[in-house]
Amino acid sequence: MEQFLGLPPEGSAHAHEIDQLIVLLHWLMFALFIGWGIFYTYVLIRFRKAKNPTADYTGSKSHMSSYLEIVVAVVEIVLLIGFSIPLWANRVNQFPPEKDALVVHVVAEQFAWNVHYPGKDGKFGKRDINLVDSDNPLGIDRNDPDAVDDIATINQLNLPLNKPAIIYISSKDVIHSFKLPVMRINQDAIPGQVIPVWFTPTLAGDSEIACAQLCGLGHYRMRGYMTIQTMEEFTAWLDEQAASL
Amino acid sequence: MSLKTFHIFFISLSVLTAIGFGVWLLNENAPVFAVLSFLSGIGLIVYGISFLRKLKHVSFI
């Protein structure tokens, strides 16, 4: 079914659960649609005027539809309480402790994704909008001791494999939406708010960051890249970035 | 709901406002004005009753 629906590869630990829900929902949809479809086609053929010249005043006496509605309601309750609500709670409530995770800030702007790594010290330096210019799109205050080793990239997010990543998402200008199709992650970047998401990448390789919310004329090209690499490769990459500071 | 009913409703809320305003004035240390506000609340109650008497024969609907 998953292949049939054409979902993207599952790149994170929780991706399969989301896909499972989507698949179950589509089973429900297919079952209902095909069931109704068969009934509908049968009725149209059997009760066409040529075949059935006089209509029956009472029509159907069956209570099938009530049972069907109860079944639909029960399935919906199961999907809701059994899958969707716990899954969502897992997404928004059960963040891993920050010491065990890789913490990154992503700041969206028209039309790019700015990524802010804390650097060696693990502390994010101050950002000040008054310092924003083309060389420093994040406005990192390099006078802040915490900021000296901070790494900033544009449209390139590197993350280590199999380690939970916590990403704080915010925006400099308008609403964007941080979407990682392969990771089954989507979160609006809302100006004035910083909202975290978390996931554990389980699939090494390159994929994309898409913007899912209309953000102006360059919305279609607001594409970033994400690279999932082993811890060693990731550390090497970080060192390389730090060296070029 | 007729204008009569709505008027009574409106006057009742005005009474509450007058009382609330009086409390607010007490908080702001303006007791004289507060008393004035309470008095106007009472005045509105008296008016409301006389209004109801006057329009005894008009429907509430």
């Binding site: - | 709901m1 204008l3 009569k4 709505f6 409106f10 406002t17 305003f21 008016y47 609907i61």
Partner: protein
């Protein structure tokens, strides 16, 4: 064919068309101002500033005066309707005239309030409290102006209907009165919410 129930009430619903219509309209107005009050609450909760300090710049005595003016105008409005019920057209004219005067009085006082703010360079863009203050009072002011237009029409040219269809005219005044009471009611809420709290 005449439209039925323009004057007389329909037996099973107990109202005439206009009265049902105005109440539906007022229901939508409740939703309009309700949305603005909700906005006020959300912005106040989310604000970094203390709004109970911010509203100190507002002129409470003038607003109190305005509250008194509007409550009085409601009383005169209802009196003008009651006069028509007692078939006293002259008194109707007097009370309706007073209602309109009160409404103008309200707007004039509001004008002084606004211009005092502008003189001190306080604009809607100054802060979010003033933004919602100006938006809500201005929208309320527009409703007052609407009421003045309607009431003036019924005081002047519209009152000719009294000679031909007195019952229908009385109805119309009741409808206008319901609208006017709603406008006043909004102020009764605006006054504490904006000026006092």
């Amino acid at each position: 064919m005449e439209i039925p129930y323009t004057i007389e009430t329909r037996e099973d619903t107990g109202v005439n068309n206009a009265k049902l219509g105005i109440w539906l309209f007022l229901a939508s107005e409740v939703m309009l101002f309700g949305a603005l009050f909700t906005t006020y609450i959300l912005l106040r909760i989310g604000s970094a500033d203390d709004w109970s300090q911010l509203n100190d710049i507002l002129n409470v005595p003038l607003a109190t005066l305005n509250t008194v003016v509007l409550i009085s105008s409601s009383v005169t409005m209802v009196m003008s309707w009651a006069s028509l019920m007692m078939k006293d057209f002259k008194k109707y004219k007097l009370y309706m005239g007073l209602t309109i005067l009160c409404s103008f009085g309200f707007l004039i006082i509001k004008y002084f309030e606004y211009s005092a703010k502008f003189e001190h360079h306080l604009y809607p863009s100054t802060n979010t409290f003033l933004a919602i203050y100006f938006t809500m009072t201005a929208l309320h002011g527009l409703h007052v102006i609407g009421g003045i237009i309607v009431n003036t029409y019924f005081w002047g040219p519209g009152s000719k209907m009294w000679n031909t269809q007195p019952e229908r005219f009385t109805n119309r005044i009741e409808i206008a009165g319901l609208y006017w009471h709603f406008v006043d009611l909004v102020w009764i809420f605006l006054f504490p919410v904006l000026y006092l709290l």
